[in-house]
Amino acid sequence: MSANTGLTNQQREFRWAMVFMSPWIVGFLVFMAGPMLWSLWLSFTDYDPLRANTAFVGLDNYRELLVDPEVRTSLWNTVFFTVFYVPGTIASGLALALLLQRVGRAVGFFRTAFYLPNITPAVAVGALFLLLLNGRDGLVNQALRAIGLPGPSWLNDPAWIKPGVILMMLWSVGSTVIIYLAALQNVPRDLYEAAEVDGAGAWHKFRYITLPMISGAIFFTLIINTIASLQLFTEVYAMFFGGQESGAAGQAALFYVIYLFRNAFEFFAMGYASALAWVLFVVIGIITVIQVKTSKRWVYYEGD
């Protein structure tokens, strides 16, 4: 073989590996690495696609960020949402997975049912919740009133807009449930049996066997959900922004990526928007690193 081509097998393998990898390499350079660097450079300019003269403004955009009240508002909104949504989705996902675990053969049916919200397009979820959360007539308030609770004005009262968004996003907990269910089903039976022999109760088993054994799955969903909720956009944008007046929601629903989007594509202030994007990147990076580092304390791996 090598006589034919003049190359060693190893070299030929390398070439062919490159050929097979080429789509990703091109994509990476053109659509990821290039853009990353470009966006970093943009963040130091005042680039506006319609203007001829782009100036290099150094750290001006970043300084502006620090004093921009809407940055503060949108960061607050985003962090608020994340802090309540992520633990909420993990806790409810786990609870539901434990519930489903006892179901038996019909678990497939329930898994499908639980996952339905996840296949509903995000825009439709937004539209659906515009209807469900309607302060006067929405189903949510109808249900609340039926059990004697007052129904807040989810869409007009700025104090209730974020809780409404959290509620909406929690509706899609199905995928988390499925992940936890799979993890639960992988916990070896004999661990439980051994514990029972020692007289362990339900809580004890949960706390010392179940939780550690699925901690890997919990860790994974923690990271994924945190990163995703810090970038929440579609559902909220569909409901409160775009062509329409934002009305009461204006500031209460302004999430960080929405503000970024506006600066980029509605004001065409792409330099500033790029700075906003990099700040987000750094924030996500820091939070993820913290989560990973502290995970060593509570995540249990099979091999340990």
Binding site: F31, P35, P121, L280, I284
Partner: protein, 307 residues
Amino acid sequence: MAVQPAPRSLVPSVSRPEAVVDTTTPDGFGPGRVMRKAVFVVALVAVTALFVYPLIWLLSASLKPPAEVFSSDFIGSEVRWDNYTRLFQMAPILTWGWNSLVVTLLGATAVTFSSAMVAFAFSYFRFRYRDGLFLLVLATMMLPGAVLMIPQFLIWDGLGLNNTLYPLWAGNLFGSAFYIFMLRQFLLTLPRELFEAARVDGAGYFRLWWNIALPLTRSALIVVFLFELKVLWTDLVRPLIFLRDVQLFTLPRGLKAIIDNPAIGGQQQWELLAAGSVLVTLPMVVLFFIFQRYFTEGIATTGSTGR
């Protein structure tokens, strides 16, 4: 987390019944147990209703007369099919649906094959830097889309492809880290001897990929295809950024336009908004029901739901 190899069923279900039903209630048989069971069933039904009912309600709301949209009756005083016909008249729904179909099918196909290619590179071949490069691939999964949004807009603009459907799917020609990762896991489980035997028979690398690797990972490829179908069908961000002409909108973008435009539906004509939402969601529900096994297995394996 442990990796599940391909050939075995990914969902440990009734094959291990002990893992599924907890029979260790201390009460044994007796009133306590029956109570618990009842509570359990009630909880299960209630929770299931929470997930399913809103969609059913949406469907019923879309068929009600405008004044009754919010009522909790399942069927209104009359069934208004004309809500849908009105919607079709007011907005180019069919065009939108067609655009969505084009983007979704092209994009899902593109990403499946390109990711399979790259995954093959990382699984079959052995070369220096392989592991380092793969880590890089994984790292890109952490890139926030927001950082790439603006330059990608400028790139497509520079190529003159703004306001076309290309930016919505052509990025998929280059594979996607998530699917590369997933497919690589599957490919790694294929016995190397299969490939070696073919090589001995004179097969080139491409044939190894096309004739051996692909067919053997068929179910994983289907999962990738389906996941990406869902991601592309439901995407709003790319159409928002790249599309201008109303005739080019995809269904989600069109639904957003309906929300925004009081003349068409929006906040004055809730029944039309509901109808539009149903139209956007229905294809996904149908797809899901037909292929649910692939969806749920795919999530359980990879721990996620597509990019």
